[in-house]
């Protein structure tokens, strides 16, 4: 039987496999219905929608997803997980993208630039969450 050529460029295979390993999710199960984007509370802040993010990942394109800051803006509210008709844990997928960035010793925020009044007023869980999610 003739094999079907993979749409994923060989250079991207390592990163794509890493996303699958970190997230435990198979992005190829996504049928591109866009429900995740329709319910996402932060989608307006992203460079493009979560549906497009998954589509890029299906073709092994990770850089555009990083540039669109999808992982950075995801608030892990899990609304998309409840709604996804294919059962994909979408926050896990974009958490994996975020981790790929953080694990290159890259911080996505600068803690020293948080305003003093925010430091004084915001609860501890807000800082722990922020630093867990956005610093390396």
């Amino acid at each position: 039987m003739a094999s079907i050529p993979s749409p994923i460029h060989p250079e991207n295979l390592k990163a794509v496999n890493k996303i699958a390993e970190l997230s435990g999710q198979n992005v190829h199960e996504c049928m591109q219905c866009g429900t995740c984007s329709a319910v996402c509370p932060m989608v307006e802040s992203m460079g493009f929608t979560t549906r497009m993010g998954i589509h890029y990942l299906q073709f092994g394109e990770i850089e555009p997803v990083i540039k669109a800051q999808i992982g950075e803006y995801c608030a892990s509210c899990h609304t998309c997980v409840v709604r996804c008709p294919r059962g994909i844990d979408v926050p896990k997928v974009f958490e994996a993208v975020r981790q790929l960035v953080l694990r290159t010793n890259t911080d996505l925020i600068k803690p020293q630039e948080i305003p003093k009044d925010t430091m004084a007023e915001a609860p501890q869980i807000a800082f722990v969450s922020t630093f867990r999610k956005l610093t390396s």
Partner: protein
Amino acid sequence: MKLGYYPGCTLKTKAANLEKAAMASLDHLGVEYKELSRWNCCGAVFSLTDDDLIHQVAPVRNLIRAAQEGCDTVVTICSQCYNTLARANKLVRDDEEKRDTLNRFMDEEPDYNGEVEVVHYLSLLRDQVGWEKLREAVTNPLDGLKVAPFYGCTLVRPEEVAIDAVDQEILEGFIAALGADPAAFSAARECCGSYQMIAHPEEGMNRAAKVIGAANRSEADALILSCPMCEYNLGTRQGDVVAAHDGLSQVPTYYFTQLLGVALGLDPELCRLDLNGPAAQELFVDKNFIAAATV
């Protein structure tokens, strides 16, 4: 049931108004519990990457502390602590390989296999006290107070740790038991902006504005919360959010435990309404729920 209470960092500092009335109410309702004598930060957010086991150590250590103190159930009030502890507990129960790795990593601790049950305070009220008994215990009913119930994310998602199926409406049942009226509130289970308020304040404020707008449309007198992060985004920052968005008006915010304490007729000082700002105090004085001199 031997019930342990896990407070978490924020309740012991910036969210005393979430904790004090809650624990006094349990005493008042005759629910026995023991505050854990040792605990650490829960980690605030559950790790979503499969190889990140190190961040499961903090929540699991808390569950080991509870087991060591003889508790078979641990109750939390903060939504984020609840979510993080409950998910870590589920991971330990469901994933044998990760459980073994965690137990081997913490080899100075007793093995933990998910023996402790993690419950949220609202579930405890519903399942151990019951709405009927709570209704009977109310001596200061919150008559005429229309309340928008805000669940946010971490009490109800993901489904495997949700304290409530959507159609059960636990917060609505709680509000009704106190004599108040639950508002039909379209943003009840939406995101408040979460930690994005710190990382990306403008986007965080835009999100909070949508929740406050929905509370305005519900014509609620008050918005109730169970999470210090929601309180920061929707309460502490509300003045900035309303000022930056046309068509919004202010709505007083309370922790659900403060309504409980007031309705049970506890000493208003315990409810720490002074930490909620003047609007929250004024509304309760106007409604005759508390005397003006007590806040």
